[in-house]
């Protein structure tokens, strides 16, 4: 980065954090720290909800995914507007009127302490480690692309986030999210403009659309019914629906956000805001990936974008084989470039395009195969699978984006990571303090005591996340295992809340037994079938509803209606 880039970068973060801390001066007590005294405007809450979901890896990984596979990932987001409506109608009124600090606190009001504690514990287990990944994944990409030290990148990103989150609480988090989300919109728009600007002068918008269309990169809807395929309209609308409902309706990092709104009406508006904005945003991010695909028809891309992996392979026993692939890749790319330019000329002249299209399709297939072979070599040398998709967009930024804008774009990636991490920290801290410390250790301390513990807890979880991020490379399979465990209980946790809201006679025993049965059912499905992971949440939620209702019916009485 040039001096101008650094200036933009430092100025941006300095002003964002100052503004957020200034906003948090009105916070009063522990309710101010965790819920901003329930006084924030809906637009700010809505942008924060969006920023929490959009992590840095969403931004850079999704573009890479579209570069490889096109727009089909958007199907996962299609049910999100409907989820927002269901949240507004069912979930939000219960949480808001119960005046709870955490989603799990509601479960004790409705069921019992053991259900609340188990739910909150599962949240802490999963999200504590996820916070480390939120930090690690973009830091490793930025360190490879920018040549920065990986550990220093993690520590800078982590410590700055801990500082403003610890001092300013949820208010600082939400206001930084607001600015960071606005910056992300600006970053997406800038990326689209720059991508068009870096295409050859003779290539117009119609040509870009056409080239993407030859390889069906714009194809967004797959109507085929195949439960093992992750990206179809059915897995999106069914599996994606339950996933989004579990995330927005039961995950404290999201529930906490809409509890900060100044009224029930504001909470709902913040979610409806997301219902309308999320799809266009995701569409734009994926379009960047497809535009990159088109762009690299004219500019020669590296065989793999992760330079660290390439260096590792070059120093291994498979270097010669990899270099052979690189040479072949260069040759096929040149042929495709010529054929593409020829095709565009033929298209303008109204000639028959079929032969050229077929030729380009064959080159595309060969290039995809070469990339796949290269990734296989990397996987073999590294011992873990290649994550090259995360490097496609940052690699473009560093090579083609002008000074000043580059600093801004890197700041946007930092912002995306930090706006997810800060939300995780406040959520982890609130669950620790409210669901465990206050509930079991010091039920009747004064406000200043809880506030102190809340700050210490935020600091602890921040340092924990940094620790996980610093050692994530070595933790490898352990983290994968924990992530899998997370997917086992996410749908089940949703089932517990649905049981609470929808089954009036359900009770604590039913909820607790249902939760365990739901996790067992998901585990069984995951090891005995090839069903896409998106359906795990459906299995978990429905099992909890069925088993929980049955146990509630069999056990004495039934809980009073809430």
């Amino acid at each position: 980065m040039t001096v101008i880039d650094w200036a933009v970068f430092v100025l941006y973060f300095g002003s964002v954090i100052s503004f957020a801390l200034w906003q948090s001066r009105k916070n009063v007590g522990v309710e101010g720290y965790f819920l901003a005294n329930r006084r924030l405007p809906w637009a700010a809450v809505g942008l924060s909800v969006m920023a929490t979901q959009a992590s840095a890896i969403t931004f850079i990984g999704t573009t890479g995914q579209a570069f490889d596979d096109g727009m089909e990932f958007i199907q996962v987001y299609l049910p999100q507007p409907l989820v927002m409506v269901l949240l507004c109608v069912v979930f939000v009124p219960f949480f808001y009127r119960a005046k709870v600090f955490t989603a799990y606190e509601y479960l004790e009001n409705r069921f019992d302490a053991k259900t609340r504690s188990l739910a909150s514990f599962l949240f802490l287990l999963s999200r504590g480690l996820a916070a480390g990944i939120v930090l690690y994944a973009p830091a490793i990409v930025l360190s490879v692309i920018m040549g920065w030290d990986e550990k220093i990148t993690i520590l800078i990103m982590g410590l700055v986030t801990i500082l403003y989150t610890m001092v300013g609480g949820i208010t600082a988090v939400i206001w930084t999210d607001v600015i960071q989300m606005v910056m992300m919109f600006a970053g997406i728009a800038a990326a689209l403009v720059i991508l068009f600007g870096t295409l050859p002068a003779e290539v117009g918008v119609g040509d870009v659309v056409y080239i993407g269309g030859i390889q069906t990169m714009w194809s967004s809807i797959d109507w085929s019914w195949d439960p093992t395929n992750t990206y179809t309209i059915w897995s999106g609308m069914i599996g994606g629906f339950f996933l989004a409902l579990a995330y927005f309706g039961t995950d404290q990092s999201q529930v906490q956000r809409y509890l900060t709104a100044k009224s029930l009406r504001s909470s709902r508006l913040s979610l409806i805001f997301n219902a309308f904005l999320k799809l266009p945003m995701q569409f734009a991010i994926l379009s960047i990936g497809v535009l990159l695909f088109v762009f690299y028809h004219f500019e020669r891309p590296p065989l793999l974008f992760n330079s660290a992996e390439v260096t590792m392979v070059h120093e291994s026993t498979r270097a010669a084989e990899f270099q052979g692939l690189e040479m072949e890749h260069g040759g096929v790319h040149s042929l495709r470039r010529e054929a593409t330019l020829e095709l565009l000329d033929a298209r303008r002249g109204g000639e028959n395009l079929a032969v050229l299209q077929q030729q380009i399709g064959e080159y595309d297939g060969q290039l995809a195969q070469l990339r796949s072979d290269a990734k296989a070599i990397v996987s073999d040398v590294r011992g873990t699978s290649s994550n090259d998709v995360n490097y496609v967009f940052p690699s473009y930024l560093i090579r083609y984006v002008p000074a000043g804008i580059l600093g801004l774009m890197i700041a946007v990636i930092f912002a995306a990571a930090m706006s997810s991490l800060d939300s995780e920290l406040t959520a982890l801290s609130s669950a620790t303090v409210i669901d465990f410390y206050q509930r079991y250790f010091r039920p009747k301390a004064d406000e200043s005591h809880y506030l102190r513990v809340a700050r210490i807890s935020t600091f602890f979880w921040g340092i924990f996340a940094c620790g996980v991020a610093l050692y994530a490379g070595r933790l490898g399979s352990l983290l994968e295992a924990v992530n899998q465990v997370g997917s086992f209980f996410y749908g089940s946790l949703l089932g517990v809340f649905l049981l609470a809201f929808l089954v009036k006679k359900s009770n604590g025993d039913g909820a607790f037994g249902g939760l365990l049965a739901g996790m067992l059912a998901v585990f069984t499905v995951s090891v005995t079938t090839d069903v896409s992971f998106l359906y795990y949440n459906v299995v978990g939620a429905l099992t909890v509803l069925a088993v929980g209702s049955m146990i509630s019916k069999l056990s004495d009485g039934g809980a009073p209606t809430v």
Partner: protein, 50 residues
Amino acid sequence: MRDRPDSDDENGPIGIFPNWWWLYGAVVIYTVVAIVLLHLFSVTLDFGLH
């Protein structure tokens, strides 16, 4: 306890919508329109040889 309806929230117009249910209906229509548009987008911009 049973949740009581919050009159400020349940009643009254929401921007251009007469009440919440109209707004929710608009979101549902928006989703359907998005799916239809994406389908048309997929079909019309498919220039592959089949």
